[in-house]
Amino acid sequence: METSIYTVVAFYGLALTILGAATLVVFARNIVHSVLFLALTFIAMAGLFLTLDADFIAAVQVLVYAGAVCIMVVFGIMLIQRADMKATNLFNRQLFTGGGVVALVVALCAVFAGRTAWAEMVAAEAVPEGTVQFIGALLMSKYVIPFEVAALLLLVALIGAIVLARDEEVKADAGD
């Protein structure tokens, strides 16, 4: 499949941004910095989705991840980390064992990637323009039950988060 030079440049640029930002997320010593790099990763990811002809997903990615999730995490951090933020994101004792396992995962992935005949899987057709209407139709017809379940899940998560995070004293007051 032919690809334009812009796509190639865009892919490599985005890929480097994603990997670099993700690495910084992990290695940053300040948790707030980590979250900022996370937002950067998410935005770059949205770009990557655009190169994959998934404009709706890209929009969702920006809205949900870069917007909602990152903000929520920042609020969470602000509720928890009160004093100094400098050394809030350190490694634990299993840095090297964890590194070893990750290396194994990478190695295995490489082996599998090498063993798989990717070219045979690729289909001939191109993705149609404007995916939103297709996705919308599918979500309301074939995948309506998972869709509703997801909605229910969000509701439950909402209530659960409120119940869990509610202050004990407030609860005690409400009880009186």
Binding site: N92, Q94, T97, G98, V101, L104, V105, L108, V111, F112, R115
Partner: protein, 644 residues
């Protein structure tokens, strides 16, 4: 009319005391006098019916050849692949059972009456009478059984009553121990009997006495001679225990821990003769097996002599009587072993009277002396207790075998039967035992009732409820044998096995037995009455020191059993204990230890830290991924427990 009714409703006889048992237990227990009246009354009515039934049997000669049998089906058991088992429960009335029915109910009535006086003031008065009633019911049921299984049930019930009554004074350790000993010993024997009965049922398909006697008469159609011998020996083990034959006699002397009426009723007159009765009932089985007959005869003869020698040295009045009972039971077995049902049942009949009499007399003495049992501490009781003394003397004359008292005729019958069957050694044993019997009985009588009075004793004659039975039984001890005199033997015309036996009158044997009995009494007189200081008796005991001690300690049989128990049973138990501790527990503890060790090893992995778990989890994921990649999905699904 009434006789007819009694004949065809003989099951009423055991039923009445059984009802009395229920009434006492559930209704009249708080009122001792009422309980006693219920028990004695029901037994008296039962005795009345039994007498009528016995009268009916003994006036109709048909019943000798063809017993009156009526039964109802108790249960039948059909198992696939096996012939159907049908068990009846019923009544078999023939002269033997009619005699027993009358004898048991008659003696029981008077012993019940006697118990009112003897047990007066005892806190367990009502309970005692309920037990006695239950015993009476079971014993009468045993007697009229038409079926060996029914008989075995009653056999077990009388064993239970024996246990309850021996241990009646349950505050005494010795009484509890004696009860336990009696029960366990009898159960050991009953196991043999049960095996024998099972074998009979399996081989012959029935336990009905009449059917069995017909089938065993030509047993070759059913089984081999060896099997029949085995069955006979197994069946005989039961009577060995119940009738106190050597080597299972040990429980009977200890059973004297029970109240004296119990000793008189159960351990002298009725229950202990159940073994003899059972052998008599199944004599058709033993008759086919000469070796079994031999066994019965030798066991009986040996027991008779053995127990008599022990009785010579004993000091407690009831113990002497107990060994004498064992000895007399040996006589009965001996008679059965030589094939004379007549003589055996005759001796059973007379023995019931004079031995019950003597036990009740002993009870009267104990009652008067506040349970001081050693005959050496008694003496001169005849002045204060005339009725007891003279009835006891009648009993002593009867058991010693002085004519015309009852014991003479029956003992003579046994000796003659032994002689006429050609068992000369057993005849000698029997005759010598007769001499010993006369000696030890009169030793006891001279020591206890005559001689010098002991100033520390304050005896008094017993109340009428106790003396009336004594007098009645004394009349029995005097006259019960007259039905079987050698000149006109009515007894032998009614009770016999095979054909009635009419031997010529054997004056030689008669003379010998009189001489031996008289010699025994004279010897006792010389040693224990004439020689007031008993110097000679003591000197004799010293001369025969080891023998005397051996006899006094009952041949150390109890010690032998104890040793056997300790060495063998406890030793095995000890071994098993060690096995259990070291091997069985070792395995269990080893498994536990293994689990603990492996847990100790594996707990390293349970750090409690989430990320550690995640790490291990991912290692597992990697392993599964590798497995799936390099061996295909089926092997991985195998590892994952069949998840497809």
């Amino acid at each position: 009319m009434l006789v007819e009714f009694a004949l065809y409703h003989a099951w009423l006889v055991p039923l009445l005391p059984a009802l009395a048992f229920g009434v006492i237990v559930f209704l009249t227990r708080p009122w001792p006098k009422l309980s006693a009246i219920v028990a004695v009354g029901s037994m008296a009515v039962a005795c009345f019916f039994a007498t009528l039934a016995a009268y009916g049997v003994f006036t109709n000669h048909e019943f000798v050849e063809k017993p009156l049998v009526y039964a109802t089906r108790w249960f039948s058991l059909g198992l696939p692949g096996m012939p159907e088992v049908q068990i009846d429960v019923g009544v078999q009335l023939d002269p033997t059972s009619a005699m027993m029915l009358f004898m048991v109910s008659f003696i029981a009535t008077f012993i019940f009456l006697y118990s009112i006086g003897y047990m007066e003031g005892d806190p367990g008065f009502s309970v005692f009478f309920s037990y006695l009633s239950l015993f009476g019911a079971s014993m009468l049921l045993l007697v009229i059984s038409s079926n060996l299984l029914q008989m075995f049930v009653a056999w077990g019930l009388v064993g239970l009553c024996s246990y309850l009554l021996i241990g009646f004074y349950s505050h005494k350790i010795s009484a509890r121990e004696a009860a336990k000993k009696a029960f366990v010993t009898c159960r050991v024997a009953d196991f043999g009997l049960l095996l024998g009965l099972l074998a009979l049922q399996i081989v012959f398909g029935t336990l009905n006495l009449t059917e069995l006697s017909e089938k065993i008469a030509h047993f070759e159609e059913y089984t081999t001679f060896g099997m029949l011998t085995l069955i006979a020996v197994l069946v005989f083990i039961g009577p060995i225990g119940k009738s106190g034959q050597f080597p299972l006699h040990v429980w009977l002397p200890d059973a004297m821990e029970g109240p004296t009426p119990v000793s008189a009723l159960i351990h002298a007159a009725t229950m202990v003769v159940a073994g003899v009765y059972l052998v008599g009932r199944t004599l058709f089985l033993f008759h086919e097996v000469p070796s079994a007959m031999q066994l019965v005869a030798v066991t009986g003869g040996f027991t008779a002599l053995f127990a008599a020698t022990i009785a010579i040295t004993q000091r407690e009045i009831k113990r002497i009587l107990a060994y004498s009972t064992v000895s007399q039971l040996g006589y009965m077995m001996l008679a059965l072993g030589v094939g004379s049902l007549t003589a055996s049942m005759f001796h059973l009949w007379t023995h019931a009277f004079f031995k019950a009499l003597m036990f009740l007399g002993a009870g009267s003495v104990l009652h008067a002396l506040h349970h001081k049992a050693d005959v050496w501490e008694m003496g001169g009781l005849y002045k204060k207790m005339p009725i007891t003394t003279w009835t006891f003397v009648i009993g002593g004359l009867a058991i010693a075998g002085i004519p015309p008292f009852a014991g003479f005729w029956s003992k003579d019958e046994i000796l003659v039967a032994t002689l006429s069957e050609g068992h000369y050694v057993l005849f000698a044993v029997g005759a010598f035992t007769a001499f010993l019997t006369a000696f030890y009985m009169w030793r006891m009588i001279f020591l206890a009732f005559f001689g010098e009075e002991k100033p520390e004793n304050h005896p008094h004659e017993s109340p009428w409820t106790m003396t009336v039975p004594l007098v009645v039984l004394a009349v029995g001890a005097l006259g019960a044998g007259w039905v079987g005199t050698p000149w006109h033997n009515v007894w032998a015309e009614w009770i016999f096995f095979g054909h009635p036996h009419h031997g010529p009158v054997n004056y030689g044997a008669m003379l010998l037995s009189i001489v031996l009995a008289a010699a025994g009494i004279y010897l006792a007189y010389m040693l224990y009455l004439k020689d007031a200081k008993k110097k000679r008796a003591r000197r004799l005991a010293e001369w025969f020191g080891p023998v005397y001690r051996m006899l006094y300690n009952k041949y150390y049989i109890d010690e032998l059993y104890l040793w056997f128990n300790h060495a063998l049973v406890d030793g095995t138990a000890r071994l098993m204990y060690l096995f259990d501790i070291y091997v069985v527990d070792g395995i269990v503890n080893g498994i536990g230890g293994f689990a603990k060790l492996s847990g100790d090893g594996l707990r390293v992995f349970q750090s409690g830290r989430l990320q550690n778990y995640a790490l291990i989890f991912f290692l597992g994921v990697l392993a599964v991924a590798v497995l799936m990649a390099f061996t295909g999905p089926s092997a991985a699904s195998l590892v994952l427990g069949g998840v497809k």
